[in-house]
Subunit: 333 residues, 2 copies
């Protein structure tokens, strides 16, 4: 019989139905292309093609020379853009809209067309996260912005359109319902207990031990109790930081190593799977409290999101997180 | 510049960014297989293979003879099953689960392996919807069940695993957060205005006229103001029925024709696209009120759900519903 579990951070349910399960290693079949060249003449993110992108926002290292490691640029096909006011317009009582103001940026992770994050040096991942952090901190100064989502699409099934490794930031003039929900659930927990929900959750996972992949001084990596997808993986800091903008340089360095090691484990165990990851922070302006903790969710795209998931919001997962964690733990040591 | 619109039924935002848009007819490229045989020896849903499925729940026409038109059976790989109590178990304060009690059923739409709903006779679609309605009404009598979702996955990108046309019902002992949310938003609207949100919405769409595909005595078909996906299509009844279980036989007959005509329009315009549809009803037990209206959402799977959508819940749509409706309207006449 299957089991229905509640995600303590959203209160949403997931159904974990292992009757139709595969063994962990059977998820290996689908993979992203691995035969890419290190440089592709037509790729706008490859060195030499810098003029094909909109004007650069940042470059690491920041000096003038051509050998950049990481670039930050606006998305050429931006979902949200630049100037203008974030004023609502209403047509009748029900139709509410606003101009698409905000930002949609790209962090080009590496000059190498074919170097995926799982296989990079920790120092390169640190540069990438530093670039993300710099842009997050710059964008949150804009008073029109209410939320910033940092995310990565790796592989076609994860929605990537350019294969050159890159991360995206979307800064929106609204807070998504899901972000509000997560924040509200955390506030309710804080009101009930006086403690941060995510700190309690990490403590409970460490206590249970069965879903932990590994831990470091600053971070805990685990498969959450109510995993929506097979091999869903969360990285949670131990230090109280509601927003990713608050991370210290030391923790950022440690995070780079933790993220790289986690992605490397998934990469080896599942043979370069398609995946998304998302850095969740509190809504902007809600950073000075003790009830939220930014965190990373890695979402391997090994299964298809079907009508039930889209229509109900409840995911049907075919693997217990205890099983996937036991399998993946071997690859994260 | 893009536009950010709020879905009046969930209060969630969508970003409609037409900069990277295709023209409506460019979505035509991907299609489901059209070269299927009418009968496949290995298919558990094809006539002659009835013993390959779990014991039948219903058959239309209901008499004994072998020439069935529609069959209802339990899903062989059910996400939720049969007997047992829907009692919650808690491990510590954060880990809450329950046995996967409920039901997960399949309606086999036709004996023909290759006959898709868009191309069926209205009378066959009516039989299918009658079977869905009979099972909904039977399942809602179980006091453990709190929600029933009826959905269809057509095509691999929509998550189908068996190509023989079928619909699924999941009856769950919990109400999904999304269902609660939609219901709560409708109640708030009712408290504010004294009217049903969905009735007001349909009236506003009919007034605006620019997103309507067509209307009949009993139903209105339109592309919603805050469409999450290109060609997202809603079918809404005009008569006050919070639950699909409350539909009359006459309305069911009309709905069959409306649904078939809508799917046929999408099928011709987009060349047999992959899609999901979902019948949304109120949570069970909340059927006797005037603030909710069951409705069908058809979700073509022409684009990939990527990290931003999964991480924020906000969809980036590349097509204005006014444009898709103007294009599709021609195919629904």
């Amino acid at each position: 019989m299957s089991v229905i579990r509640q995600d303590p951070t959203t209160k949403e349910w997931v159904i974990i139905a292992t009757e139709r399960a595969k063994r962990p290693d059977q998820f290996k079949r689908e993979q992203s292309p691995t035969d890419l060249p290190p440089h592709q003449a037509s790729c706008p993110f490859c060195p030499g093609n810098e003029t094909l992108t909109p004007p650069e926002i940042l470059r690491l290292p920041p000096d003038e020379h051509e050998n950049w490691n990481v670039r930050g640029i606006p998305n050429k096909y931006a979902a949200l853009t630049g100037s203008g006011e974030a004023a609502r317009r209403e047509t009748g009582a029900l139709f509410r809209e606003m101009d698409g103001v905000g930002a949609h940026e790209v962090i080009v992770e590496t000059p190498l067309h074919n170097q995926r994050m799982a296989l990079m040096a920790d120092s390169q991942v640190e540069r990438i996260l530093t670039a993300c952090h710099m842009r997050y901190c710059a964008l949150e100064k804009d008073s029109r912005i209410k939320s910033i989502i940092i995310f990565k699409n790796h592989g076609e099934r994860a929605g990537t359109s350019l294969e050159h490794p890159h991360i995206q930031l979307v800064a929106a003039p609204v807070a998504p319902m899901l972000m509000r929900r997560k924040h509200d659930v955390a506030i309710t927990h804080y009101d009930d207990t006086g403690r941060c929900l995510y700190c309690d959750l990490v403590a409970a996972e460490l206590d249970a031990r069965i879903r932990i992949l590994f831990e470091t001084d600053g971070f805990v990596v685990f498969h959450p109790y109510a995993s929506r997808l097979p091999f869903e993986t969360w990285i949670t800091p131990r230090r109280m930081q509601p927003s990713f903008s608050q991370i210290s340089p030391e923790d950022l360095r440690e995070l780079a190593s933790v993220l790289r090691k986690t992605l490397h484990g998934l990469d080896v165990a599942l043979n370069n799977p398609h995946f998304n990851f998302v850095i969740h922070s509190a809504p902007l302006g809600d950073h000075q409290h003790e009830y939220y903790l930014w965190h990373i969710q890695i979402l391997p795209r090994l299964t298809t999101i079907a009508g039930f998931e889209l229509g109900s919001g409840i995911f049907i997962n075919t693997m217990l997180p205890e099983e996937s964690a036991a399998f993946l733990r071997k690859y994260c040591s």
